[in-house]
Amino acid sequence: MFFRNYPNIIVAMEVGSSKVAVAVSEQRADGSLVLLGVGEAKTSGVRKCEIVNFEYAKQSISHALKDAEEKTDVEISEVYLALSGAHIHSENVELTTAIHSEGNEILQEHLDDLDGMIRHQSLEPGYSFIHEIIRHYRLDDGSTVENPIGLSSRRLSAQYHLISGITTRLQTTIRCVKELGVNVKGFALGSLATAQAVLTEAQKREGAIIVNCGAGATDWLAYEAGGVIETGVIAVGGEHLTNDLALGLKLPPLKAEDLKLRHGRVDAAPAGAAETVVIPGDYSFEERIVPMESVQMILNARQEETLRIVLGKLSEKAFWPHFRGTVHFTGGASRIPGFLELASEIFPVPVSLSMPLPLEGDQSRVSRPDLATVMGLLRYAQIEDANTEPEGFGFGSLRKLFAAMRLFSF
C-alpha cells in the first residue's frame, strides 16, 4: 500500500474497554489541526481500561491501526497514547524555591528548579508519574500568576497537580503498542485529553468539571481558575450497565448490550411508551419479552450509584464548596436516554451533555462523544509538540520561543 506523505502528522490512540480508536490528523503551517480520519476496532482483552489479555489487546490495536491507515492513506509510525485505569492516583503539591538573581528576577532556571524538585517527589513504590501539571505560580506577595518569568519575587511557589499510576500497568499498555512497531511518542491521562476536546479556555478559567463516562471506567477532571485541580477515576462504566442487565434478566451479554442500546433508559419511560420489550431470538436464544420497568430499574440503580460515587468523591475535595461551574458529561455511556435528567437530580450544580469541539476535516466523527478522548488527545499532542524544545531553526525557533514562554498550557 502506498501512503501519502503528510509532513506533520499527529496520531492519537485510545485503548478503551469497548473499542480502540486511532485518530489521524495533520498540523498545518498555520497551526490548525485537520482531522484526516479515525480508525476503530472492537477491543478484546481489556477490562475496566486495563489490559487483561495482552495478545488479544494487541490484535485489537493492530486492527484499529490498519483501519486508520486504510481510511487516511497515512502510514502510522508513532502515536500519542491515552492512559487510564483505576490505579491512577492524583494529588496537589506546592513547592517553593528562593530567588537569588539580580533584582530577584524570576528566570527560566527557577522554573526548571521547581520542575526538578517535583520530579524528586516520593511516590508509592511501583508508581510512576504520568503528569506534573502546573496549576499556577505564586509570588511572595501572595498573588498568583500563570507565567512568572521576568517578574520579581524573593520566593516563587508552584502548585502542581501530580498524576501517577502503577508503573507495570502503564508499561503494559505502552508495550502493547510498541510491539506492533509503532513508537509511543507521548502519553496523556484520558480525562486530561477529553478535557481538551470538550472544554474551551473560557470554561477552564471559569471552573468546569469534565466527566467521561466510558465503557470500562468513569473518569473526571476539574478545572479551577484555568488550572487542573482534581482528577479521578472509578472503574465502573457502560459495561457495568450491560452486565447488570445480563445478570438481572438472565440474558447473554450480547443481547443485554443490544437491549441497552436500543431500549435502555435510566429514568422512567415517558407516557405512552411500551411496557414490555421483545428481545428477538436466534438459534441459541429463545425470544423473550421483558418488562421495561425492570430494564429501567436495573439501569437506573446502577447509573444513579455511579453518579453518586462521582459526586461523593468530588465532594471530599477542598475546591468543591466553592465550585460554581458546570459539570460536563461526555463519553458513550452518557448518551443513554434519561442520563441528563438523572445527573441534574443528583448534582447540585449545572450539568450538561457535551460534544467534542469541532475540528477541521472529517466532521462525521465530531459529533460522537465516545471519541472525545482520542480527539482531545490530538489537541493535547499538538500542544505538547509545541511545548517541547525542538531542534533546528525557522519554525522550530518560533516553537522554542513559545516553549520557553510556556505560552501553551493544559
Binding site: 477490562r47 472509578i234 450491560t242 438472565k250 425492570s294 460515587i309
Partner: protein
C-alpha cells in the same frame, strides 16, 4: 468405606443426559438457590418455590412461583406443616406437570419450617415417580428453636431419607463458626447458605450430563443415602477453595484453603462419630495435567487422617481456564449408637447427664481431642440438633449450650478459633469475574447494584 452401588437408573440413557434441576423450597432453599444463580457459572435449571411472595419476588432464580396464593395470600405458611401440605395439594397438578420433565434434581431447603419442609417430600415423590434422581441438601433448625419445630424437622428428615436418593444435612448452628457471626449472626448464616449452595453445586455437577470423572451419582448416594429413620444430625461438612493458576497460587495453598473452612471446625470434623468418608470435586481448565492431579490428590490425602476414604472427581471446562475450584464434601456414613426418639410427642425434659464421648462439639469449641470425662452410659440427650452439648459439662469447658428447656442460658463466649482465611465469596460479577475487583466503601461494585440493594426484578 465408600462403595459403588449399581444404580438402576444409570441404565436409562435418557436420565443421564438431562441437565440437573436445582429447586429451592421455602425461604432457606431460595437463599441457597440465589447464591448459585449469582455465581452463574454452571448451566443448570434453577427454580424457586415458596408460599411467601416476598421471598419469591426477591429471588433471582430464572424460574420461580408463589404457591398456594388462594390459601396463604402470598404470606407464607408460618411454619405450619399442615398448611404446607394443603398448599401442595392445591398446586399439585401444576407442580407435577412441571416436575414431569425433571430427571435429575437437587433440592435445597431448611427443615422445620412450613412450605419448604411440606413441599420437599411431595416434590421428591413427584420426581421419583418419573424415574428421576433426587439429592436433597437440607439444614437443621437452630438448637434454640421450639420443640414442635424440631419434631417437624425430624419427621420430614426421616421421610426424605426414605424417598430421596441422598440427603446432605447441614446444621444451622454452624453459623457460629464464622468469625463475623459474633457481630452479626446473619453473616454466619450466609456462610452456611453458601456452603449449602456449594454442596448443591457439587451434587448438580455430579448429576449433570458429562458429570465428574471417577465420581458418579452412586458415590454420592453411598455417602449420603445411608441413614435410617432415627438419625437426626448433620451428616455433611464442606470445605471449599479456589486458586488462580495464572497468579501462581500453589496446590498446597488450595488444599489449605479447603481445610480451613469454618465448617470443618479445625479438623474436629474427623473425630470419632463424625466424618468418616469424603469426596473431592475438582473443577479446572484443560491446562491442568494428570501430574498436577496426582500432586493435588497427594497433598489432600496427606492433610486428611491416615486411611481416610476419599473419592476424587474432576471436571474440566473451558470456562475454568486458569482457575482451580476444589470442593471437599465429608460424610458420616456410620449410624450413631443412640436409640430412636419418638417424633409424635414433644421432647421429654432430659435429666442432666455427664458428657458423652460421642457428643459432637459446637462449632466454636476446641477440638474434642482435648481432655473430657470418660464416656457415661448412653442415655438419650437432647437430640434434636447436630450441636448437642449436655447441660452438665466439665468445668473447664465453656461453650454455648443448647437449652434443654428452651431457655437460653448465656455463658461466656467461646474461645476464638484461629482462622487462616475465610473462603467467603460474594455474588457473581458476570463478565468481570477475571478482572480485579472494584471495591468502594466495602462494596464490590462489579456485582449488580440491584442485587446489592436487594431490589426485586420482574422478568
Amino acid at each position: 468405606m465408600i462403595e459403588l452401588v449399581q444404580d438402576e437408573s444409570e441404565r436409562n440413557g435418557g436420565a443421564e443426559e438431562a441437565p440437573a434441576t436445582v429447586i429451592g423450597l421455602g425461604q432457606a432453599g431460595i437463599h441457597v438457590v440465589d447464591q448459585l444463580v449469582m455465581r452463574g457459572r454452571e448451566r443448570f435449571e434453577a427454580i424457586a418455590l415458596d408460599a411467601d411472595s416476598v421471598s419469591v419476588d426477591g429471588s433471582i432464580a430464572p424460574e420461580k412461583a408463589t404457591l398456594g396464593v388462594g390459601l396463604c395470600r402470598g404470606l407464607g405458611c408460618y411454619g405450619d406443616m399442615a398448611l404446607g401440605r394443603a398448599v401442595w395439594k392445591s398446586e399439585a397438578e401444576r407442580l407435577q406437570t412441571r416436575f414431569s420433565e425433571v430427571r435429575q434434581a437437587v433440592l435445597a431447603l431448611g427443615l422445620g419450617g412450613g412450605a419448604g419442609s411440606a413441599l420437599a417430600v411431595e416434590t421428591v415423590k413427584a420426581i421419583k415417580r418419573n424415574e428421576g434422581r433426587v439429592v436433597v441438601v437440607a439444614s437443621l433448625p437452630f438448637a434454640f428453636e421450639p420443640a414442635p419445630r424440631q419434631a417437624a424437622a425430624r419427621r420430614v428428615l426421616a421421610e426424605l431419607r426414605e424417598v430421596a436418593d441422598a440427603v446432605l444435612v447441614f446444621a444451622a448452628d454452624r453459623a457460629d463458626a464464622w468469625e463475623e457471626s459474633k457481630q452479626n449472626i446473619r453473616k454466619g448464616l450466609h456462610g452456611v447458605n453458601l456452603a449449602m449452595a456449594r454442596a448443591v453445586e457439587a451434587s448438580a455437577q455430579i448429576l449433570a450430563s458429562g458429570g465428574m470423572n471417577a465420581i458418579s451419582f452412586a458415590d454420592l448416594r453411598s455417602l449420603y443415602g445411608r441413614f435410617g429413620e432415627g438419625e437426626f444430625r448433620e451428616n455433611c461438612w464442606l470445605g471449599r477453595g479456589e486458586a488462580s493458576v495464572s497468579e501462581g497460587q500453589g496446590l498446597e495453598a488450595l488444599v489449605a484453603q479447603v481445610l480451613s473452612s469454618p465448617l470443618l471446625d479445625g479438623g474436629a470434623v474427623f473425630a470419632e462419630g463424625k466424618a468418616d468418608s469424603g469426596m473431592a470435586c475438582l473443577m479446572t481448565g484443560h491446562e491442568f495435567s494428570l501430574t498436577d492431579l496426582k500432586v493435588l490428590r497427594r497433598e489432600l490425602e496427606a492433610a486428611l487422617p491416615k486411611g481416610f476414604p476419599l473419592a476424587f472427581g474432576t471436571r474440566t471446562l473451558d470456562r475454568h481456564e486458569g482457575r482451580l475450584s476444589l470442593s471437599l464434601l465429608l460424610a458420616s456414613t456410620r449410624p450413631q449408637a443412640v436409640p430412636e426418639v419418638r417424633t409424635e410427642e414433644p421432647m421429654p425434659q432430659p435429666k442432666p447427664q455427664p458428657i458423652l464421648a460421642e457428643v459432637p462439639a459446637p462449632v466454636s469449641m476446641p477440638l474434642p481431642t482435648k481432655a473430657k470425662p470418660a464416656p457415661a452410659p448412653v442415655v438419650m440427650p437432647e437430640p434434636v440438633v447436630a450441636v448437642v452439648p449436655a447441660p452438665a459439662l466439665a468445668v473447664a469447658e465453656e461453650r454455648n449450650l443448647a437449652p434443654v428447656d428452651n431457655v437460653v442460658r448465656r455463658t461466656k463466649s467461646p474461645k476464638p478459633v484461629k482462622q487462616e482465611e475465610l473462603p467467603f465469596e460474594g455474588g457473581s460479577r458476570g463478565r468481570f469475574e477475571n478482572s480485579s475487583e472494584t471495591i468502594y466503601n466495602g462494596e464490590n461494585l462489579d456485582q449488580p447494584t440491584f442485587l446489592r440493594r436487594r431490589m426485586a426484578v420482574k422478568e
